[in-house]
């Protein structure tokens, strides 16, 4: 598994998708923060908010996350580099390495938004959320930046990033089954929006609400401004267990699957 991770990290440093997605996330986060300030300052009218929200983490990560699952998991099946991976360390290690790597890469996509919140708050300007995501609400809440506040924002950022990754981690078994990067990306993108909707609906059904709370799709898990340390740890635990579960599902699906 370590060999697979080392090889994947080497490949990431020399091929496009991951670095490009990270660069796009940084640019989108920066631009989104600036435009939220323009909305608050009145430089942009309220009607522009729907355009601005395209740059939000909710949309960008939902778009680029599945792309990364496709590039990091499905692509090796298309290039047949999976042959050498399976000879080198076996199917379990391959699935394990891909689970860790994709989780880390997709989590990294949300981090620029947290850093943008810190920078935005440091400017002491006003910001108006184009869409009420956790990051936008942190930014809009304003307030000074002391050590405690920085720590709080970093903790919420990390939790939110892992939660988003967990929601998208259903793309992991999808990528192992479909093995077509573009198909994984398309289904994952649609899933990103459907999942929240299904989670919200299911949470309103008596009996299902407790079950939904055990998944990252429960509304309660989205860390708000008033989230306690316990809330964040709970959300992190649910998210990490869900990601691990998706890794397990991937392994069960892949352990006896034929590889072209």
């Amino acid at each position: 598994m370590i060999n697979q991770l080392r090889a994947d990290l080497y490949a990431i440093g020399r091929t496009g998708p991951v670095l490009i997605c990270l660069a796009v996330a940084v640019l989108a986060a920066a631009l989104y923060t600036v435009l939220q300030h323009s909305l608050a300052a009145g430089d942009l009218g309220p009607e522009a908010a729907s355009g601005v929200q395209v740059l939000s983490d909710a949309l960008m990560v939902s778009l680029m996350g599945p792309l990364l699952f496709g590039a990091l998991v499905a692509q090796p099946f298309e290039t047949t580099s999976v042959h050498n991976s399976l000879l080198a360390s076996g199917r379990g290690a391959f699935v394990g390495a891909k689970t860790v790597l994709t989780a880390a890469a997709v989590t990294a996509l949300s981090l620029p938004y947290g850093i943008a919140v810190l920078i935005g708050l440091a400017t002491e300007q006003e910001f108006a959320p184009a869409i009420p995501t956790a990051f936008s609400q942190l930014l809009a809440a304003g307030g000074g930046l002391d050590g405690g506040r920085v720590g709080e924002i970093l903790a919420i950022t990390a939790t939110m990033a892992v939660l988003t990754t967990a929601k998208l981690s259903v793309c992991l078994p999808l990528a192992f089954v479909l093995r077509r990067p573009l198909v994984v990306m398309a289904i994952g993108f649609v899933w990103g929006f459907l999942a929240d909707l299904i989670g919200s609906t299911a949470a309103d059904v008596e009996g299902l609400d407790a079950l939904v709370r055990l998944t990252p799709f429960a509304r309660d898990h989205v860390p708000g401004l008033d989230a306690t340390g316990g809330d964040l740890v709970g959300t992190l635990a649910v998210s990490l267990v869900f990601i691990a579960l998706m890794g397990l599902v991937s392994w069960l699906l892949f352990r006896r699957a034929d590889v072209k």
């Binding site: 060999n3 697979q4 080392r6 090889a7 080497y10 490949a11 020399r14 091929t15 496009g16 290039t79 047949t80 580099s81 999976v82 042959h83 050498n84 991976s85 399976l86 000879l87 080198a88 360390s89 076996g90 290690a93 006896r256 699957a257 034929d258 590889v259 072209k260």
Partner: protein, 306 residues
């Protein structure tokens, strides 16, 4: 005593109702080169996938390096190198970067292996050229180098000379032979190029319709495909005497019915005729016979495709 590297027992793989490989039992010994011969769809690539753990058999077992199991263990798979169908290449990387990536993947500690293998396959001078700009032949050669990166004991090459120019074909042949002779590597190699396999392999596995039709050594194949001159005369004894007096080392064989076969005289019909006439033996039949490689292959698999 020869060491068995791979043994399959009644290996079977179905895709729906179609048996891609059916009850195939083969044994590969260390240091030998096995040519896997068969038409498209005969089951060659499926057999290679099963051995490499890329496909899971429906039934049967694979004993790899002495460990018997339904499918090979990870530790044993690590002793295999493969080039199956297309090379595992990252088009956006150079040849050296591809080598480095696969060295990390296989956990090979010595970085010098990268340059050594690139030199071995003639790609040491490709510098910063991206693999996506390589010719088909260069890609194949890089694929072979990648298959060798972990110094495998069993090398599986599926159509490795595809796209190679004649010089490249000769180089691959020399490489495969040296790997088997000098390092004791076992090689399983498939190709549509029968004459090329004839010059490379030491043993042959002929498959058709997912079944193993025949296994034979190079010597047996040579015997099967040898051209000879067949001579008949009214007096077979006089015929044999005349031939043996003219060519004591001819290894003439008398066949049922009295005809005589001369295995080393397939191209010397005129000379044989002159000799017999001079000895007052008048042949009733004089013909060049024997199977070509292609006709022997077709006879084993059951004739030409309908």
């Amino acid at each position: 005593m020869s060491e068995t590297v791979l043994r399959t027992r009644d290996l079977t793989k179905h895709y729906g109702d179609h048996a891609a490989v059916h009850a195939m039992s083969i044994r590969l010994e260390r240091g030998r080169i096995y040519g896997l011969i068969g038409r498209n769809g005969a089951g060659k690539t499926t057999l290679m996938r099963l051995i490499a753990g890329l496909s899971i058999p429906n039934s049967g077992s694979i004993e790899l390096f002495g460990a018997d199991a339904e499918r090979p263990r990870t530790a044993d798979l690590a002793r295999i190198g493969t080039l199956i169908e297309s090379p595992s290449l990252h088009g956006g990387m150079t040849a050296r970067q591809n080598m480095h990536l696969h060295r990390l993947l296989r956990g090979v500690p010595d970085p010098r292996v990268e340059e050594r293998l690139l030199e071995l396959v003639g790609l040491a001078g490709t510098g910063r050229k991206k693999v996506r700009d390589f010719s088909l032949g260069m890609r194949q050669r890089l694929g072979i180098a990648l298959a060798l990166i972990a110094d495998p004991e069993l090398l599986i090459l599926d159509e490795p000379v595809n796209g190679l120019d004649p010089q490249g074909v000769v180089e691959v042949r020399r490489l495969v032979r040296s790997l088997a002779e000098e390092r004791g590597m076992t090689v399983l190699i498939s190709s549509h190029n029968l004459p090329e396999l004839f010059q490379t392999a030491t043993d042959y596995l002929i498959v058709e319709g997912g079944e193993l039709r025949m296994t034979l050594t190079l010597e047996e194949l040579e015997a099967q495909t040898q051209q000879y001159l067949e001579v008949a005369a009214a007096d077979p004894a006089a015929l044999l005497t005349a031939l043996e007096e003219a060519w004591p080392d001819a290894e003439a064989r008398v066949m049922p019915g009295g005809t005589v076969r001369l295995p080393h005289h397939a191209d010397r019909a005129e000379q044989v005729l002159r000799t017999l006439v001079a000895a007052d033996v008048w042949p009733t039949r004089l013909a060049r016979e024997g199977e070509s490689l292609e006709s022997f292959f077709l006879s084993v698999i059951g004739g030409e495709r309908a």
